[in-house]
Structures are given as structure tokens and as C-alpha cells.
Symmetry: C3
């Protein structure tokens, strides 16, 4: 499995991590997550170094977790501190990998790569609307790059989500922006009916719809949606800001964490329920099956190796794939990261 | 996956192909099948060249199919004729493979290999009894060569189908004929009780039973069954003519299309129902599980590499395997096809 | 698949083998088991050499088994003795592998390796208490080495079986003994409450608990359990002797045959039922899921290649793994078996 390891990945929403130990496989590695007595979220390897038993099935007492198989006990730094067998000496190999974990913006962010490079200031600002934020989680049966493609490209909405998320009509003005580690798609659909996503908290029948989505290395997407009166300022409209962050579980499956915020009726639980149901329906019944079907026909996770047709909606998705591929190779020592200008040259292949 | 690609394979019965697009994986390739407005059956790649989405889930309007993911639209020649995105230019790679497809004898025949070699006159004459013909389809969980073995060798009937298809007794006169691309087994069982297959439309209690089955490259089998009075001409008897055509789905599974015709009571729907039930019961409950069990023990689809015991019932099945193997290698440029005499020399290995 | 082939493996309990042919995959090979008319247990390849059909689905008449697919008939020596096809000649390849099979101590023992080396005197004496012996069978979804680890190391009981098999408390005196092809763990737990395993037939509330478990190549484990009064002789106590023998089904699954005997109340069927339920509960609900979880995290069956932490409870399990690995390599001609002293030197790595 080849993933970019030096990067901050969402390991869970804050409310998922408590005193009940649980495990999540991240980038192919089983990770144990729990909160210490002082509330600090902690991530250790979930595999006991003795027989590789799943530690999350053991007992957490204070800040110490005991293996359910033979009782080896580890502290929150990963050090074995109790061996009930023989003379009780601690073997040198009895130590768990501890992962840098930072709690920020309602999530816990894990660093799977070189701990010395784990700089918390590099965690992406999700840029949500202050106040009430909804959190969701879905496990997708697709490679994370396929999910990234799907989310980074909103042009599929009129086709795949014609009856659910998407506004009627496909006329849109689109621009793309990119830096070496980011890609952004900006859409404007003028004079359309209220889109499903904004309908729960906007009453005008026709308006201008703006959406942007941007990606930051490794797998954080930020989405802006605004529905406002025709030719009216965005500030007058119904604004949503969402974050989608993806963490590879393994090559075939992806943890999809989503957050949603809005500028109106933040305390209306009925709107929350509608939005949650809309997102989950679309991802479970429309995007999910489509991504799985594409992957079955691709027979690989390396889309670009299949020389697909490129469309003018693809720059962000293709840039993300190329950038990640380049960084993964660089991390493996295969080649130096290319410069921005080289990346642009590659994009010249489009159309 | 290695299959003979230059050959006509049944892709479906005519009545399966209509205005509702559907997909079938043939020789490992996902194929989209539908009828154009003028009724012509059409076969295209089912994978959109942009993200490999399954086109059969899209919309067919006129003779154009739209991708369900991003709306690229293709005509029946496979050419992308509408791109709803950006400036609408059609990228050069936006083109689907179109497969030669010929409708003949109630079926659509597909050519997976070099289109320039697709000669419709090479489609095998199924040689069915004129008039009413029954069609059936079963998906077998075995490699197509195992199914070919099973069908081409009728000597298993007294054992595997003792209570269902086979007449009592195993005394039989058998002869084998072969050419470079065909193999034929001819059986006569004199003075036997009416076999199950002919009982629905023959009333004599004892008679002579004749069966022949022949194979033609790549995977077409034609079967003749006749039950007539003892030492009476075949014309007086109950005659069935059946066709069995196999199309590899992938290495593990096979599309099995069968057709059955008879010279008596063609308009008797009860006889149709009995025959259908007999065929489906035997293949689903007797042949199918046996073929799957054999393959589990073989651990390969290459029977001959296991140096099996050869019986005098095997020439047709072994010839078919050897011929296909030779043609597949030749197609891959590995060696020239051997001549007829070489093929005969190989058969000399039979004990 | 690499297993030690020159060794006696349990193929089944005597009562499992009768006139009804049945098949069991042993060391990756499908084996047909039945009793001849004179009662002799017999093991042949279950794959007919013609098309690899499963012979156990055929008919046993006298000492001859007929293939369910084409009727080839074999005698108990594996020789084809009847071919119903053509002129009836028997092809030279129509012969089944026959496996040395010895019935001893209530089980049938099979030799998968070189028949010339199959010495019945090498079958391990299970050393059960004379009289009533219980037999059980479980199919474990783990590699046999993982099951061997589990059984050979009783130190996990207080953790994994805290509410079921294990006595309260973990204080124990442990010693280990080993020869080149055996390993033995000896435990004493002084002054503990009656352990669950002895409770059904011992009434004292506090006593000394002794257990030993030893392993002999390839996969036979013998267990001794004794619960007696504090500082009283073992002979006064409740003694159990159990045997656990493992036969690899394939790399992923293991046949686990267990036998249990006791020195008290041998004819009490309620005690039998309690013991059976205890063993099956623990293995199915506690050991089984734990072994499967460990293997998922290991991603290999070669524990030692992962450089696990060694504990003072591990010598027997590690010795068994190393010995088997060495013998398997020697059998494959990769290197000569090391001498006893070399094996000891390797064990010096323990911390």
C-alpha cells in the first residue's frame, strides 16, 4: 500500500474518541484511539507487540491499556509498564508505536509518517461558519483517490444527483485555481431554482448559486455553497460551508468524515436532520455505487495509467492525483518533488 | 485472461436485447448491449472513457447513450457526440470501442478480436429444427473449458444424471469424428427405455436412442437426439436438436446459452415447460456443482497440465481443449497454428 | 503451502470414519476416508484422476468406490478396477494416491509424506486416563501454528478466559522443559479456588492446581491438569488428561481434534456435557476470535519474522515454531536439520 504518510489525516471526530478504547485502520495500520484521564486524545498501535492481539479489546485503567490475550500493560506513551509473566521483566520490544495526534476544529488529526515532521500548524483550517457544526462519517468501499475525484468535481451533480442534490439546469461558469498543493474549482450557476442543499434554509424561488471546492494535501476538501438573489451579494444569501476529509483505510476502502455548517437557523434540528439525510442518501445510494462500479471496470486504482479522456472539469481532480503521486514517490525516495512549474507543464496535456 | 478473441461468441438471445440498455461481461470485457431505433442490435464498451462509469446505467435517447456520471453522450458508433462541460469540445479519447455484432438464428453474435477478421459467414449454423425454438440462459460458476468438457462428453449422463436425464443402461456404441476446428461424438444406445429427454413427446416404451454432439471453434455445440422404434428409421422417431453456446464471462464464470427444438408437438407449451425444467434442474443441481467441485480440486483451469487419465470418451473434449489452446497461443503470436496432421499426432497419446 | 509432510497427523476420530465415505482436506490435499468391509479405515485421494471429481460423492460398494461423474471404480489400494467406457481398458494414470493410515487410541492417523518413512511406532502416545475418553472436533479459522501457540501457552487463560476456564489469580510457578522435537510447560498455582475445569468433579473450595502441556512433532499436545488439596499429593486430586491434535486443513484453517479423560466419575454424562460445553465455548467464543484477530493484524503466518516481543511464557511455543520451520526446510532439501545444541543456542535469544 502506498499512501502519503507525512501528512495530517483525520482519525475521527472529537466526539468519537472517549474513554472507551476503539480501533480504526488508517493507511493500513491498526490504530487504537482513546482519551487519557486528563482528556487528551491518544493514538497508539492497536497491535500488541507480543502476539499482535487487538489492544482495543483490552481494558483501559487510568491511562494504561492491558492486552486482552496475555495481559501486557502499556501506558499512553506506548511503553510496556507491566508484564504479569515470569519475573516481570519488560522485554525491550514490548513497546507500542505512538502516533502524533492533535485535536483541532472538532477532530483528531493523526500523523502516520516521520514524527519529527509532524507540525500541527500544518493542519488545514476547515474554514467552517462559526457556531453550530454538524459531523458525519461514512465508510466508502472505494480507494480514497476515487472519492477525492468524486468530491473535487462537482460537475457530476446534475447527472448523478439529478433528483436529489443538484439544481435543475447545467449552465454554469467555472474557473479553476491551483497551487502546488491545492486545487480549487469555482462554479456559478446564475438564475436557477433553489438548490436542494440550500432549500431547507432559503425561501427565494430563483437565484444565483455559487459553489467552490478546494483541496489541500493530503486529503482535505473545503466546500462553499451560496444561494442568493439574482445579482445580489453573497452575504444576503444562504451560505453553507462544508469540509470533507478522507483517510485511506486500506487500498480498497476509505474513511469519509464530513462537517457541515451554515449561516442561518443554526439551532434548527429539523434542518440538521434534512441535511444529514440528504448527504447520506446521496453518498450511500448515488456516489458510493457509482465509485464502486467505476473501480470494478478500472481494475486498478491508478486512473491516469488508463489514459482516460480528460474533460475541462478535471483539472482539480487530476492535479490532486498527480500531486499525491509525486509526493508519495518523493517520500519513498524515488524522485525529488517537482516544482510548481513542472506541475503546470503536466497539466498542459489537458484537452 | 487468455481467451480466443477472433471468434464469434453468443452475446445474448435476440429477445434479451431491446431498448433497455444492459451490460454483460464477455471475455473479461464489459459490453453494453441495446437496440437502435431501427432495431439493429449494437454492442459498445460499457465503460465510459472518462471515469470508467457503467454506461448501461445511463440514458438511451434515440441511438445515443449518456453516461450516468458526467453526461458524456455517445452515438451507436461509439463516438462521443456531446460533452456538456466547459466549451463542449470532444476530447479525442472520448470514444467507445464498438464490437462487431451480428444477429442471426435468434441470437446476437459478438466478435471480440480484430474487427477486420470478423466474417459473418463464419457464424456457425445451429442446425435447429425449423419452427419453434426454445431459448435458455444459465450463468455457470466454472471456467468455460470445464463446461465445454461437460457438454461435449455425454458419457457422464448415466452417472451424474442417473435419475433425471439419462436412460437406464450404459451400453452404447460410440464413434468420434474430428476436423481441425470441430469434434463430434456419436452415440447409439439400442433397445433402451424412452429417455427422459424424449419422453415428453414420444410414447413407445423401448427403442433405439441416437445422440451426437459436435463442437465448432470457439464454443458452439450442436446436439442431435433421436428416439425411434427398435431398428426403425430415425425419421419416424422423436427428434430433438439443441445448441449450446458458451461465452466466457471471465476465467471463473461462463455464460451458457442453450436452444432446443423438436420435430413433434412444437406448439405444446407443457412440453416446453417440462424440457426447460429438466435442463435447468440438471445443470443447476447436477452438472453445476460437479464442475465447481472438480475445479476446486484442480486448482487451475488447465486440465491437461495435470496429466489426467484419458478415457475413450475423451477425444472430443481433449481435442477442443488442445485446439483452443493452440489457437490462443497462435493469436498471441507465440507459435503458428499446427496443421491438421499435427493435431492428429497429438491425439495419438490417448491410451 | 508448506507443511511438514513426514509426520503422523490426526485425520479424524475413529467414530467419524464409517461406511459412509467422507472427505477432509488435510495439508491442502483432499482425502477420502471410509472403512472397508473388514473395518479397516482407509485414506485415498478424493480427486478422481480423470476429471478431479470428488469421489466421496460417489458410491461405495464392497471396498470399491465409484466416481460420481463418469463411473470409474477404484479399489481400496487406489487402483482403478473398472472403466465403464469404450473397451473398458484401464488407463495407466487411473490410480489414486493411497495414504498410510493407522488406527490407534481412538483416532485415525495419516501420513502425508514419503510412505517408506511412515513408521506407526512414531505415533504419539496420547497418555489419556484409561477408561472413558471424550472426543471433540472444531474447525478453526486460523493457521495451525497460531492454534499451536494458543494451546501450548496456558498463560493466556487468566486474561482470555477470566470468566470461564481460568481460576482466579495469576500467581504461578512455571518451568519449561524441551527436547529437539518436544516442548513442555509446567505450571503450579498454589492455594487457588477450584478451577472451572476441575469443578465438575471436585468438591474442595481451595487447593493446589497443577497443569502441564507438552508438544510433540508435528502437532500433538498432551495436557495434564490436577487439582488437589493444599500441599496434598496429586493422586488424591481430580486429574484430567487431555490431548489436542492439530491438522492443517490449508494455510488459513485448522482441524482441531481434542480428547479429554478424567480419573473420577467417568460414567457421569452430565460432567461430559459440562466439559464439552466449556471447551467449545472457550474455543469458539474466546480463543477462536482472538487468534483470527491476531492473524489479521499479523498479515502473515510467520510470527517470528515480525520480531515479536518474547515473554518468559513463550519458550514452548517458540521452540515448536522454530523446530517445525527447521524440519520443513530440511524436508524441502533446503538445509540439514540442526542439532539439539544449535536449537538451544537459538533459544538463547529470549530476553
Amino acid at each position: 500500500m502506498s499512501f502519503l504518510r507525512n501528512g495530517w489525516y483525520c482519525a475521527g471526530w472529537s466526539e468519537e474518541v472517549g474513554r472507551e478504547p476503539f480501533a480504526r485502520t488508517l493507511l493500513g495500520n491498526p490504530v487504537l484511539l482513546f482519551r487519557r484521564q486528563d482528556g487528551t486524545a491518544t493514538a497508539l498501535s492497536d497491535a500488541c507487540p507480543h502476539r499482535f492481539a487487538p489492544l482495543h479489546k483490552g481494558r483501559l485503567e487510568g491511562d494504561r491499556i492491558s492486552c486482552p490475550y496475555h495481559g501486557l500493560t502499556f501506558d499512553a506513551s506506548g511503553q510496556c509498564v507491566f508484564n504479569p509473566h515470569g519475573d516481570g521483566r519488560i522485554p525491550p520490544a514490548a513497546r507500542l508505536r505512538v502516533y502524533p495526534l492533535v485535536e483541532s476544529q472538532g477532530a483528531v488529526w493523526l500523523w502516520m509518517g516521520d514524527p519529527d515532521l509532524a507540525d500541527p500548524t500544518k493542519i488545514v483550517d476547515l474554514n467552517l461558519v462559526p457556531g453550530h457544526v454538524m459531523h458525519g462519517y461514512l465508510n466508502m468501499k472505494s480507494n480514497y483517490l476515487m472519492v477525492l475525484d468524486n468530491l473535487l468535481d462537482l460537475s457530476h451533480a446534475p447527472y448523478l444527483h439529478s433528483g436529489t442534490l443538484s439544481p435543475v439546469g447545467t449552465r454554469r461558469e467555472t474557473t479553476y485555481e491551483a497551487t502546488d498543493a491545492t486545487a480549487k474549482s469555482i462554479y456559478k450557476m446564475p438564475s436557477v431554482p433553489t438548490p436542494a442543499t440550500q432549500r431547507p434554509f432559503f425561501d427565494g424561488p430563483i437565484g444565483d448559486f455559487y459553489t467552490t471546492i478546494d483541496w489541500t494535501v493530503p486529503t482535505v476538501l473545503r466546500q462553499f455553497l451560496c444561494f442568493t438573489g439574482v445579482d445580489r451579494p453573497q452575504e444576503e444569501g444562504a451560505i453553507s460551508r462544508a469540509a470533507h476529509t478522507l483517510t485511506p483505510q486500506d487500498e480498497q476502502t476509505t474513511h469519509y468524515f464530513w462537517a457541515a455548517s451554515r449561516n442561518r437557523q443554526q439551532d434548527n434540528a429539523q434542518i440538521d436532520a434534512k441535511i444529514r439525510s440528504m448527504v447520506e442518501y446521496a453518498f450511500t445510494n448515488e456516489d458510493g455505487p457509482m465509485m464502486e462500479a467505476c473501480e470494478r471496470y478500472m481494475g486498478t486504482t491508478d486512473l491516469l495509467s488508463l489514459k482516460p479522456a480528460f474533460l475541462q472539469v478535471d483539472p482539480s481532480a487530476v492535479r490532486a492525483r498527480r500531486t499525491l503521486s509525486r509526493l508519495i514517490k518523493a517520500e519513498a525516495g524515488e524522485s525529488p518533488p517537482s516544482t510548481e512549474s513542472q506541475a503546470h507543464a503536466q497539466d498542459g496535456q489537458f484537452a
